[in-house]
Symmetry: C2
Subunit: 644 residues, 2 copies
């Protein structure tokens, strides 16, 4: 390995900027020098061994730096992050520099062996893993303390010296991608592999899920339409529809796991090992030895983390949920009071008053959502998870539970406390349609307008810079650094999750929900694509093997929807008419059917394998090979020890 | 490797008999010659490279053979079967002959590095994997067809040439084990490690589970006693007891997984890879290439197997279940008829008639159970599972469902159709106590008597053989070959499973069930130990990492028991008295509580990790090392390919 790194000393003439580092204006010279030196420095000296170039700006301030790396450096980095690539024999293997020749499409002069997203991911990984050695503080900023093992970039970010790090767009590639993605009107699948190459696996998987989910909803939508058109309210048809929905939603979630496994196997992320993930940048602890890898890294007691989760976070979340329910009850009281007031007075003022509770409630919910989101982020960060994925899962779980309650608690109240099916149908339709319209507006019209404004502003700037030679790059960097930051797929999944809730929880009350969901999702794909390509900064690629905690969230929703639908059917007048004498028989029948459906769901989930057979075989083969390799190694060690 | 095998040509003076092969009397000479040659033959020639010695019997018939192996052969066999042993650095690793020096307690002259059970397992594995090459039939038996890849031993067994293969007891070891296990009256744990060394992991795990389960039932028993003594029938106390039972049973099953992982990690079986298991002896198919290992072995389409399972086995099982329910209904009708008849006539004859339905039902159930067991074995064998574990799981699942119905259907009928709590308590107590007494009788008194009879018979034989020099061995083999065969832990687990059903399904009706279960299990441990050591032939060791499908069975039972207990509590007069006005409120409350309990159960199962943290780390470490080894190997390959 040591000899490989020495190659990097040779001067790299064709510098290709990949990542932009924006420092605060007026950052001290000594800090910049120290930081860039650490970036450029050799691995052996604790550096990242990357290439750095300042970007000339209009006023001569050197606060923007472009980071790149030699081709060799990137290949070695690919090995460090554990990228999995396809070999010439079509199997997927962890890339190593020494075995590079065995990989498909590898050639020493082929700069495209690693996609640009992968290169940027590698650089991000190397930058984030720049760790303090014996520095006690950031040079020039005595208040920004450092200790051995602390991520330098993280400290620079928290102390405000570093404004942001973001990857550059590749205009050529982006144009091609845009064209094949949403540039022409066509019927067909999204170019998921191209999306993955450009934006990374997490985003590609989101779009894959969105597409799959839309297709999966079509049968529910098609069956739902006649219920609306012909106003079928027969008992048997209703039960059939609801039963189909429940089993169908189980099936689509199980099948998604298989499709996801196929996709991520070919992307190589299914084989990337989660256990050997480097600690996330925000993770802190005493420098110790990782018991798995034997490497030196910060260590934090898992018991302390558990205590923080169960003794602080969990009670806090419960308290918030209780508070949210309390606010909802106040809202219903206010509503009632407004209604009474209007009935008593009947004036114009009183009819206006009818809207007040809803408005107050909407505003309060929005405020609570925001405060809770900050609190959840703070708490999850304070729980000090070692892995980014574990941090994300805990954060998602916290936010999810709260959002679920805020969205559906009022519907549950209407359905199961007020027993008002008409109001339920009306509220459901209102909530679903308004949230979709708002989202579409926020995701395509608003961005389009922002886009236009930004271009105008940019044009002005560019005119004042016409003298520069490196114009297009400067123009691009300046344009992109002003763009909004894409904070991950969280909100996109949340939207889908809540939509799934509207469709499945009360599907037998409002069969048209699936139709609206399908229509929304078709435009959603286009508006999300536009958002990714045009509105936001390019996000860093994040390798992932599945949609993580969202799978669990959707499955839980589908279990809850069995319960709600059974109760709703049991409450419908048609079904009640079937049991004229005894309410008890009705309830017992409903409970029996519900238990049967739940049992069928669990049996289905148990019987359908999570990975298709050929992927299972490929994984087993790799595991077998790695164990054989371990045996071989032990044999060599043994042979050597025998010689001594 | 090639050179290692050649060592085996040297004559082995200290032959240690490990396994006995009994051929049919009058087996043709050519068959015996061919079979023993194959056993002794070199690996390269398709043999097993073991040692064989005929056992002289009274009438000079050579139909019993002793099989042994050289120490070296056993070590190489240990590598083949993938035994995992402890290294000097306390980590667990797959044993390889070349790395033998790195293992704890290894010395070239230490014959005890492999336990006797492991040696016998290796020999069994080698014998079962003797496969036909170009033979078209067994020499001397033209009707016993062979084809390439067919297990020879299997064909010999099915054609009746081979009577049995069984491992020999080690009298010294057995004496020590008996002493520490049940030889003295003591309070304490069983010597599970010693049991594992002597009988293998499957049986040790059964006794481990039995012990754990008994301890786990003690709290339920202790809490249950005052309910019986003071006849508490208060609503709140009852609910508390049932709730405690339900949560407790979830907790004990989750904790068992952790304890099981700790035990099997130290036994090495947690790391043995299931995917690389050799196909089970009964598995047949066209000779093909295993896609995982790349080795030649019989291959059978997984789709065909699925079709057989879902289109034949599943409908058959459902039909049997329906038939069993039908028979139960006939029994209840007969019972009613007998009661009516007795009330009408009131004679002695009619009071005798009262017992007739129960007797007929018991006999019919027993017959059905036996027929069903044969059918299940036939069907599972016909499904042609590649792995022994998968065969076992499918067989267990089939038998389990049927036994569950036969045992509990009548109790369910009494509880939820007849609503007769008194009769339920009475039937439950009768069933539980009689089944326990019968089992204790069948497992300790009967064996004791058989034991005595066998010894008497043996003594007679030995007297007629006093001239032989190798007397004690001949005596031992002749004694052991007449002993009954232990058909695996299936029936023992089934007994525990049904006991768990009696304890948990109706725990709130009969809190004393746990007390009886604990008392029974304490004696069960001793009678099972006696059975293993004294009554049965020594069974072959079977490495296993967990109790397999039984874990799932117990968990399912605990889910079902939530439902039954909630219904029973809902039906109790005390609870009914709390809802004097509305049955509906009662049922809704019960349903709500049930759903809450189920949710808590699933959250508990989700939150409690299946493996303790230190085992997780050790496993991750091994995986990391094997991946690093694979990388190293690739690097070497790459380096070599660069040189060319």
């Amino acid at each position: 390995m040591a000899e490989s790194w020495s190659f990097l000393d040779t001067f790299e003439s064709n510098f290709r900027p990949l990542v932009v580092i924006e420092l605060a204006k007026g950052t001290k010279k000594e800090t910049i020098e120290w930081f860039t030196k650490r970036i450029v420095d050799k691995k052996a000296n604790g550096g990242a061994q990357l290439l750095v170039k300042p970007l000339a700006t209009e006023n001569g301030d050197e606060n923007i730096y472009l980071v790149g790396a030699s081709h060799l450096r990137l290949l070695l980095g690919a090995e460090t992050v554990g990228l999995v690539k396809e070999c010439s024999d079509n199997s997927m293997r962890a890339f190593t520099y020494s075995s590079r020749k065995t990989f498909k499409d590898f050639a020493d002069d082929n700069q495209n062996f690693l996609t640009m997203a992968e290169c940027q991911y590698i650089i991000k990984h190397e930058l984030e893993n720049l760790r303090a050695k014996d520095e006690k503080m950031i040079p020039g900023y005595p208040q920004a303390k450092l200790y051995p093992g602390k991520s330098i970039v993280r400290r620079l970010l928290t102390s405000g010296v570093l404004v942001q790090i973001f990857p550059l767009h590749d205009r050529e590639e982006l144009k091609k991608l845009r064209h094949s993605w949403y540039g022409r009107v066509k019927v067909g699948y999204q170019p998921l592999d191209e999306i993955r190459c450009y934006f990374g696996e997490t985003i590609a998987l989101y779009f894959g899920f969105l597409e799959y989910f839309t297709f999966a909803l079509i049968p529910m939508a098609v069956i739902g339409i006649p219920y609306y058109v012909f106003a079928w309210e027969d008992y048997d048809k209703y039960v059939m529809f609801a039963t189909f929905n429940l089993l169908w939603s189980t099936a689509i979630l199980e099948v998604w796991k298989r499709i996801c496994a196929i996709m991520t196997y070919h992307w190589g992320t299914l084989l990337m090992k989660r256990q050997f993930e480097e600690p996330r940048p925000g993770f802190h602890g005493v420098l110790g030895v990782n018991p798995v890898t034997g490497r030196e890294e910060p260590v934090y007691s898992s018991i302390k983390r558990q205590l923080r989760i169960y003794l602080v976070s969990l009670p806090f979340v419960c308290l918030c949920l209780y508070f949210s329910l309390y606010v909802m009850m106040i809202y219903f009281d206010l509503e009632q009071w407004a209604l009474d007031y209007h009935e008593e007075n009947g004036s114009n003022f009183s009819s206006l008053m009818l809207f007040v509770p809803s408005i107050i409630y909407a505003v309060v919910i929005e405020i609570m959502n925001r405060i809770y989101r900050y609190a959840a982020e703070f708490l999850t960060s304070w729980e000090n998870h070692r892995l980014e994925s574990s941090y994300q899962n805990h954060l998602i779980l916290k936010v999810l539970v709260f959002n679920f309650l805020n969205c559906f608690a009022s519907l549950f109240y209407i359905a199961f406390v007020l027993f008002d099916m008409k109001l339920l149908r009306q509220s459901l339709a209102t909530l679903l349609i308004t949230s979709q319209i708002l989202n579409q507006f926020a995701e395509s019209l608003l961005p389009y307008w922002l886009q236009k404004r930004q271009k105008m502003r940019m044009k002005k700037r560019v005119h004042s810079l016409k003298k520069d030679t490196d114009l297009s790059l400067v123009e691009q960097v300046n344009l992109e650094k002003e763009m909004g930051t894409y904070f991950g797929t969280f909100d996109d999944y949340l939207e889908l999750f809540l939509q799934f809730g509207y469709v499945s929880l009360f599907s037998c009350v409002y069969p048209l929900a699936a139709v609206f969901a399908v229509l929304n999702n078709v435009t959603e794909i286009y508006s999300d694509a536009l958002k990714m390509c045009r509105v936001y900064k390019r996000p860093f690629a994040e390798p992932t093997a599945n949609i993580g905690v969202w799978q669990l969230a959707f499955e839980t929703m589908s279990v809850i929807s069995v319960v709600t639908n059974c109760i709703l059917i049991g409450m419908s007048p048609q079904v009640n008419a079937l049991f004229p004498d005894s309410k008890m028989d009705l309830i017992l029948t409903v409970a029996l059917v519900e238990h049967l459906l739940l049992a069928i769901k669990f049996i289905m989930a148990f019987v359908i394998p999570d990975k298709p057979r050929d992927i299972q075989i490929k994984l087993a083969r790799l595991e077998f090979e790695s164990l054989e390799a371990l045996k071989q190694q032990q044999m060599q060690l043994a042979a050597e020890s025998l010689k001594e």
